[in-house]
Structures are given as structure tokens and as C-alpha cells.
């Protein structure tokens, strides 16, 4: 069933959107213009994200404004002004200096959404070191892989995470110099230190050194179909994208109260959960607790949130909860709702309009792009199910490979790979230590995103699927190979094949097919043992939620697992081309 477009009439709105005329804004847009708007680093010292986000506001009208309101899971509230953030992040930067951590060195954080995470992120950027967040629901294996591949020299974490997941890994991470515990009053030993003690002794003054816009700033790991997670490198210049997307898509205005529900363990939670709102001098809500429908509506109402950036999984869980929220919660402050992480189904867009009084604006980007690339804009008609149109300054196209190193742009309406013209400021500058994989992403003058899509005659883009076997679960990428490798470590497992099984709420669930070694019978007990094994090694964010036993896995004659076939069989779909199947 085709969905009716949702038309807008911004002329009647009290607050005029930042992007009112899409065509005109795109035509007049330049990155130099954004650079001028940001004013830059005084004295020609380059460009530094933390300067733009925090220091720039010192001495100005934003200095004593609320930058973050942190809501603890136990009901605690902690308000942080821009000046508070400046002081605390300077302390953290001074801690790094004291520990001998310099420019370009990687500082990892493994923690829930606690204030120290934000101090560490901004302090790391001030020191021109590299901030690398990890999701707190990762198990030891994803943590080890990231610290090792990312050359982590500092890890900021909590005592509980440290004891449960990290302590046993230390021997295998020789490059890790110090672990800083956010909640230990005293050092545990010479390398596992108390962060509160160090912060208490550190000065709250720090002068950001000259920063080249191309200096590495952020390292975000993302999964691939083959091999281990890749570390996408982002530079300080990315701040231009953070700023312009905050303006044109999220539509930040002075006085806005913004809630990005994403965890900083993922790129959205860093670009938009930390950086973009600070650049605009507005207030962010940070909720430490996990999703809960009642709590979320209460936060929206009590905190008078004006702009909300969330994800399809959360929206679908709210849809399932089937509240009439407006009968119990005052959502009148809310002006704009955005969603990202995976395509938002049209039902979700329209549900927003019916239940919250506002349609939901889907947008599209990925770890590698560093910021929003294609979006539904406040003032522009929404076509439910579409990811919208490219940002000013972004050229997107649907391409098809036409030769070894060439692609051609296809006609409107035709399917192909979603591609972007390289050169925007937040484009990843490499996969750390993997130049070849990086190079393969660029073909014929385009960055190939790996997503299949089409573009209609009016320039709206529509997502179709992934071009590879990567699983998108609750908005997070999981590489089947990472999961298969871990399952194979179990003594009874001979082979494992992992797919994303479609699921209504979280998009896909990680499902594993396991072939047991001779002599082992597929029992319920063994199934549970393997589920537990996956969770212990990988953590709940990555581990398979379902496991089935098979006699054999379908493989190609060259030995590759045919995950596509596993998926087709699981779903009872036609098996398609099986000519390469080993019989």
C-alpha cells in the first residue's frame, strides 16, 4: 500500500526551521561558509572539536548555560553548565598529560552513560588524543579486539566492568598503559588507577594545543562481513559536519533541549549524543538508564524536550507498548522527532504523527560517514519509508558497477548501491591498519556505502537492503564472522554459520546455525550452553539470541558459508542461485 506523503506548512510555525528552502540552501551551501560560522580556533591554531564544543563558549553568553542534564538510573540529577564541562574535561586532559599520553594516542572508554564518559571524551579531544568509545554491553572478546586493533593505551571504565571483563585480558594487551576506574577511590595497583583521585589532583585549566583539522580525533569500530571489526578513523575537521547537520537536520535553535537516546558506544551517541548539541550551545539530556517506555515519556514531558533523536527499535517498542502518551504526559514542548539506525518503517513515521502529534523524520548515515548524510528535513514533505534527501554539501547517487574500477549512475527508480561523492569533512580517513580495505570502498570516484537503495524522480532515497551479510540488530552492526569465530571456540562446535533473522521490533536478531562435532547430540541443554557461551564471550549486544543445530552448513565449492542460503531456508524463501553450492 502506498503511503500518503506528509505535507508541511512551515509558514504557520512559530519557529522558522533552519532549512526552509531545500533547493536554495543546497545551491548556496559551501563548507567554507560553515567554517566561517564556526569561527575556528583563535590565533590560527587550526580546528579542534573540543574547542568548538566547549571552550568557544567560555566568556560568552553560553558559559553558564546548561550543557548537559544527566539523569541517573536511581533518580539522581546532575546539571553541568558549559563552564563545568570545560573544567572537568580540562582536568581529564591534564590527567592524560600526567600519564604521558600524547597526541594521536588512543583513549578508550567502556562505560554506561555516566558523566565521566563525557569528561573523558572532551578531555581526550582537548589533548589531541583519540577518543574511542566502546558499548558497555560488549563482552570480553569485542573489547579485546578493539583495544588491540586500536592500540588502546588508556582505558576508562568502571570497577565492575573491569573486574568482569577486562582484568583477565590485561596480559594480552601489552600496549595498554593504564586503566582508569571511574568509581574506585584508590588505585588498585601501579597501572589500574583511581580516576577520581587523579581528577582531584589535576588542574581545571588546560590550553588546547594547535590542532590540524586533519589530526585524528575519533575512532569508531564497525563490523564487516569478513574479518574482525574495522576502526573507522575520523578527524577534527568532522566538526563541520557535526555543526551543519545539527543546524539543517536536527534544526537546533538557541534554547532547545535535545535528547539523543543513542549510547556513545556507537557513532550516533558521539556525533549527536555529545558533540553537535554542544557546538550549538544548547542543552542535552543524558539518561543513564536503559529503555523503558514509561520512563522515556516521563523524561520527554518533565525535561521539556524540544528535539528528540531516537531509533526504530525504540520506536517499535513504544508502538508495542500501545500507550496513549498524550493523555498522561505533557509532550507539548516537543517540536521535532528524528530517527536513525536502520530504516524506519512507514508505520512508525505515521504512528508518531498519530500518537505523539509529530511525524518521525528518518535519516541515513553510517559509522564511516561520521554524520547524517541523507535526511528528512523539518520543513520538507515526508514520504513515509524514505530516508529523505542528501544534506547540503553532500552528493549522493545510486550506482551500479560497470567494470573493475568503474561505476555508472543508474536511472531514477532503479536499484543499485548507494554511493557518496568523497570529500565531506566527516568522511572517514581510513580503517586503522587496513589501508586495502579502505581503498576498496572507493570506486570510480565514489564512496560505496554497501547499502542497496533507489532514488525516486524527486530525489528521495529509499533503502532496500544490505549488499553483504552484515547483520543490523537493534540498530547495531554485527559481523557474522565475529560471531562464528567465537562459537567455533566452543569444544563441541564443528562449524557455525550466522545470519540476521528478520524480527519485528529490533529489525534482525543474530541467529546461529551450529554443526556439532561427532559424538555430540543436539540437546536443549547444549543449546542453552552455547547461548550462554556466546553471551559470556561477546556480551548481549553481539551474541546470538537463537541457535539451531544442523547436520551440515551449505558451503560454496571454495568453502565459503552460504549465509544467504541459510537465511532463505530459515525464512522458507526460494533458494535462488545455488549453482556454486557444494553438493
Amino acid at each position: 500500500m502506498p503511503w500518503e506523503p506528509i505535507r508541511k506548512n512551515p509558514d504557520t510555525w512559530l519557529l522558522s526551521p533552519q532549512l526552509l528552502d531545500y533547493g536554495r540552501t543546497c545551491a548556496e551551501f559551501t563548507w567554507d561558509g560553515v567554517r566561517r560560522e564556526l569561527a575556528g580556533f583563535p590565533g590560527g591554531k587550526g580546528l579542534n572539536i573540543a574547542h568548538q564544543a566547549v571552550e568557544r563558549h567560555m566568556g560568552g553568553p553560553n558559559q553558564d548555560r546548561l550543557a548537559m542534564r544527566w539523569l541517573g538510573k536511581d533518580g539522581a540529577v546532575r546539571d553541568l553548565t558549559f563552564a563545568d564541562l570545560s573544567r572537568e574535561s580540562s582536568r581529564f586532559a591534564n590527567v592524560l598529560v600526567k600519564l604521558g599520553v600524547g597526541k594521536g594516542e588512543r583513549v578508550f572508554v567502556l562505560a554506561g552513560r555516566i558523566p565521566e564518559l563525557y569528561f573523558a571524551a572532551l578531555g581526550t579531544l582537548k589533548n589531541v588524543s583519540v577518543f574511542c568509545p566502546m558499548f558497555s554491553a560488549f563482552g570480553p572478546e569485542p573489547i579485546r579486539q578493539r583495544l588491540e586493533r586500536g592500540d588502546g593505551c588508556i582505558l576508562v571504565t568502571t570497577l565492575r566492568q573491569y573486574q568482569k571483563k577486562v582484568a583477565a585480558l590485561l596480559e594480552r594487551l601489552p600496549q595498554l598503559k593504564y586503566v582508569l576506574l571511574t568509581d574506585a577511590p584508590e588505585d588498585l595497583n601501579g597501572t589500574v588507577l583511581s580516576l577520581p583521585r587523579l581528577m582531584g589532583a589535576a588542574s581545571s585549566e588546560f590550553v588546547i594545543p594547535a590542532t590540524d583539522p586533519e589530526d585524528m580525533a575519533l575512532l569508531h569500530f564497525t563490523s564487516g562481513t569478513t574479518g574482525l571489526p574495522k576502526g573507522a578513523v575520523h578527524v577534527h575537521n568532522a566538526v563541520l559536519t557535526h555543526f551543519s547537520t545539527g543546524k539543517y537536520v536536527l534544526d537546533f535553535h538557541p534554547g532547545d533541549i535535545f535528547w539523543c537516546t543513542a549510547d556513545p558506544g556507537w557513532v550516533t551517541g558521539t556525533s549527536y549524543g555529545i558533540i553537535a548539541p554542544l557546538l550549538h550551545g544548547i542543552t542535552s539530556i543524558i539518561d543513564e538508564a536503559d529503555f523503558d517506555a514509561e520512563r522515556w515519556y516521563r523524561i520527554l514531558a518533565e525535561q521539556r524536550v524540544t528535539i528528540w533523536y531516537t531509533a526504530p527499535t525504540a520506536i517499535r517498542m513504544l508502538m508495542r507498548a500501545n500507550f496513549e502518551p498524550r493523555s498522561r504526559f505533557d509532550l507539548s514542548a516537543l517540536r521535532l522527532i528524528h530517527s536513525v539506525g536502520e530504516p524506519l518503517n512507514p508505520e512508525g513515521v505515521v504512528w508518531g504523527e498519530r500518537t505523539l502529534g509529530l511525524p518521525i523524520h528518518d535519516n541515513w548515515w553510517q559509522t564511516e560517514t561520521g554524520g547524517i548524510m541523507i535526511a528528512n528535513f523539518a520543513a520538507m514533505e515526508i514520504r513515509p519509508g524514505s530516508m529523505g534527501r542528501p544534506l547540503p554539501g553532500i552528493e549522493a547517487a545510486i550506482v551500479r558497477r560497470s567494470g573493475e574500477d568503474t561505476v555508472e549512475v543508474v536511472a531514477p527508480g532503479e536499484e543499485g548501491e548507494l554511493a557518496l561523492r568523497p570529500g565531506w569533512p566527516s568522511m572517514f580517513r581510513g580503517y586503522l591498519h587496513d589501508e586495502e580495505r579502505y581503498r576498496k570502498c572507493f570506486v570510480g570516484g565514489w564512496y560505496i556505502t554497501g547499502d542497496l537503495a533507489r532514488c525516486d524522480g524527486d530525489g528521495y532515497f529509499w533503502f532496500i537492503g544490505r549488499a553483504d551479510d552484515i547483520i543490523k540488530t537493534a540498530g547495531h552492526m554485527v559481523g557474522p564472522f565475529e560471531v562464528e569465530s567465537v562459537l567455533m571456540e566452543h569444544p563441541v562446535v564443528a562449524e557455525a554459520g550466522v545470519i540476521g533473522k528478520p524480527e519485528e521490533i529490533i529489525g534482525e536478531i543474530v541467529k546461529a546455525f551450529v554443526v556439532l562435532k561427532d559424538g555430540y547430540a543436539p540437546t536443549e541443554e547444549l543449546r542453552l550452553e552455547l547461548i550462554g557461551f556466546g553471551r559470556t564471550k561477546l556480551g548481549s549486544a553481539v551474541a546470538p539470541k537463537e541457535i539451531s543445530f544442523l547436520e551440515t552448513l551449505p558451503r560454496t565449492r571454495s568453502g565459503k558459508i552460504m549465509r544467504r542460503l541459510l537465511k532463505a531456508r530459515e525464512l522458507g524463501l526460494p533458494e535462488g542461485d545455488t549453482s556454486t553450492l557444494e553438493r
Binding site: 514509561e294 550462554g532 549486544a541
Partner: protein, 81 residues
């Protein structure tokens, strides 16, 4: 059904989602999701399973009352007929 029997049903459900953990070690006031590393979706599955076993519907608006083992057992005990 007494509290011990309810607790046993709860433990059985938790072992399906987090089989590596021993739910019997949960403190009564501990947040189940956090203690056992269960994500929102896993918790939802767990509660749906529990509703099927006990016949007690737990609407989303009440989830905050069932985050801890003690809260969950009390909630069910008051409603199981």
C-alpha cells in the same frame, strides 16, 4: 502459588535468556537487566514468556515495578489467581 514457586518460574525464564548466569545469586533489590546483562529486547522476551506461564499480563506501563527480582515476585504474587 507461594513466593518460592514464583521465584522458580522467574529463574526458569531467566535461564532461557541468560543461561550462563545463576539467577539464584540475584539480590532481591538488584536490577535484573543490569545484573544479568540482558538488553531491552531480551527483557521484553522474558516478560512475555512469564506472562504465558503465569497468566499475568504485565503492561509496559508497569515495567518499572518489575526491574528487580523482589519487585517482580511481588507483582506476580499479587496477581496470580
Amino acid at each position: 502459588m507461594n513466593d518460592d514457586q514464583i521465584r522458580e518460574i522467574v529463574f526458569r525464564g531467566l535461564r532461557q535468556i541468560a543461561p550462563e548466569a545463576d539467577p539464584a545469586l540475584l539480590r532481591s533489590d538488584e536490577n535484573i537487566r543490569e545484573a544479568l546483562d540482558i538488553d531491552s529486547f531480551g527483557f521484553l522476551q522474558f516478560l512475555i514468556g512469564l506472562s504465558e506461564k503465569t497468566g499475568v499480563e504485565i503492561p509496559e506501563a508497569d515495567y518499572e515495578q518489575v526491574f528487580t527480582l523482589g519487585g517482580l515476585v511481588n507483582y506476580l504474587a499479587a496477581r496470580i489467581t
